[in-house]
Symmetry: none
């Protein structure tokens, strides 16, 4: 006669074995009997939660400003407007973190809980382009990390490092509203401590176009992105197509250095009139802002001709150049193979990118359009 | 009169606010009042733990094989043989893996099971020095990975890449006997596919000594070790002190690129007569083997004098140099600061390393001794 038995701590020859919930959750301290399977270490988790709460109370961060009083107000009936419409609060608990150690600690927990981590590296002064990257990340991952760090290593000695626009509090608000889980905002010492000396050196992809005019720029980009990748260890990272060459360099770096990170390029977000969004647009005077439009207009004109069948490289470049005469200095206008960034061969047979960099006043702007062809 | 008050959900104007533990832990489903601060989402965590447990039960993975019954059996006394001698089986299932994808797959499983991963990167042709690294790894971690890869990027055009000694089957046996869990033996295409072009570029530490004689050597080392680190993602990696400058470059790289990996340097293993173990020793003829002893003898002589109190840099170098006259070419003999690798200042006040590289016949050998001082 077979009698089903359920045991506890007596091995697999029973029909089943009891697992005490507290044990499964790791809620016990110290020695765990061999027959217990803990799926998480809640004991440690609990200690951490309580110590954080205690810290918050001590530094006055709990209770916080967005108090229930404000909350109750939302239910108060205003005699003039009638009952309020109650909206779901998207202003969740966003964390701002400034050290690598704390970032790792918080993300280790997320990773342990099998959360997919999305990463949007930025230099701050966020605009809709950045927020579109955040949206893409939120759609594909569970935890979105945005870094805000103006990276000295990617600025040349005569470039705009010191004047690069910054507005951290506004960035924080935008991130919170956009549903970002973690804003990582380290200072320069945290990223480049005094003895720092190891760089990530990209290769051929970093040489043409921006690379030719900004020596060491992509070395700085590859190094900081590589470092940030190692700090965040995201599953997916999101970059804007406006920085087309940067996307190519970063994607190559991730492959070459075996970083297990998917690199997603998100389409350039533009102002209604076509100007590619950029933090540097804020440098433009009203008059410069109008003339800056020449860049996207030129690229679009070439893209239109391409759609109508034009495949001649010289022709396509010439069309774009016509519009680009209102800028103050055209640094480059190149039609390159989208994979190798080498000059595209005429007639076009593989997907190419028409890329431009130009000064309008003292502001350097870049933009590009992709001319897609199904590669044979 | 001020009366301290504690409220719940009434805002920051009380002296304090109650936070219910269940709320802090996020143990409630659905809507969270605004005044609640959840530090973790235990509700979701709980669901996840329970669903994992349910999956384990359904697929028969809980209770598991290493049940208390098996465990108790080990202690059972057999009437014929007496009490069992419990031996740990060292000839376990070692895996040899050749692709990054497979390596990641296997290690992801180990990581999921909270195993600590130890890593010993080698160029194969293993000797007791390597095996000591394996021992160190086994003592500190749960899963030891040994990579065997002769890295072309660290050989100069006129160096011994093509003749570097190889014996993969013997290496495999040695690893198995030593209790290695995974031998990772990729081919060159797996590490450097055709489009590869991104390098890790070390800084000042890579310039003196070997760096001065082997241009790009440490770039090759930093790149391949960085890549291997990203493939294996170990908790700890082990390097032999014989390659002292390599240890410094790798340690710096791990810090600079924010690789969350502890770098452990293990003391040089020597032949009974003092010669530092090296795969390249096999190049030596019997006569050369005898003359090669001059290197360690010279270094030891200086170290002895140091122990007796000698702190003068020139003196210490001179003592070593006396012995080194039997080598065919002394490439360098330098006493450097152990941290910065810059020439040590006389008299010595900080830990220094006396490092030598010399040709014996056509074989280039390196060795070093540390002269330890407690840094003020």
């Amino acid at each position: 006669m077979r009698i089903p038995t359920i045991g506890i701590g007596v091995g697999p020859n029973c029909s089943g074995q009891v697992l005490v919930l507290h044990d499964a959750l790791g809620l016990t301290e110290g020695h765990r009997p061999k027959f217990v399977r803990a799926y998480v270490d809640c004991f440690q988790l609990l200690q951490e939660v309580l110590s954080r709460w205690a810290t918050d109370v001590r530094k006055g961060a709990f209770p916080h400003h967005k108090s229930p009083i404000d909350f109750l107000k939302a239910f108060a009936i205003d005699s003039r407007t009638g009952p309020p419409v109650i909206q779901r609060d998207r202003r969740h608990n966003m964390q701002t973190i400034t050290t690598v150690a704390e970032l790792r600690r918080v993300l280790a927990r997320a990773r342990k809980a099998d959360k997919r981590i999305g990463f949007v590296p930025t230099m701050g002064y966020l605009h809709q382009g950045h927020l579109t990257l955040v949206e893409a990340s939120r759609a594909q991952t569970d935890v979105t990390v945005v870094s805000i760090f103006v990276n000295p290593a990617q600025f040349g000695p005569n470039e705009d490092l010191s004047t690069y626009p910054r507005d951290f509090l506004r960035d924080q608000e935008l991130c919170r509203d956009a549903g970002v889980a973690i804003v990582f905002a380290p200072d320069v010492q945290e990223i480049y401590p005094t003895q720092f000396e190891t760089f990530v050196e990209p290769g051929e992809l970093a040489k043409p176009m921006c690379g030719a005019f900004r020596p060491d720029h992509f070395r700085g980009v590859a190094t900081v992105v590589g470092k940030l990748f190692n700090m965040v260890q995201p599953d997916v990272a999101f970059f804007g197509q406006k920085d087309f060459q940067q996307c190519a360099v970063v994607r190559r770096m991730a492959i070459d250095l075996n970083l297990p990170i998917e690199i997603v390029t998100v389409q350039t977000v533009r102002e209604p009139d076509g100007l590619a969004m950029s933090s540097r647009n804020r440098y433009l005077s009203e008059e410069e802002r109008r003339r800056a439009l020449a860049i996207s207009r030129g690229l679009f004109a070439a893209a239109d001709k391409f759609r109508l069948g034009e495949r001649d490289v010289e022709q396509l470049i010439a069309i774009a150049r016509e519009h680009l005469n209102t800028v103050d200095q055209l640094q480059y206008l190149e039609l390159v193979d989208a994979d190798t960034l080498k000059p595209a061969e005429s007639p076009l047979r593989r997907t190419a990118a028409l890329c431009a960099a130009a000064y309008v006043g003292s502001t350097r702007l870049i933009d590009n359009v992709i001319l897609p062809l199904s590669t044979p």
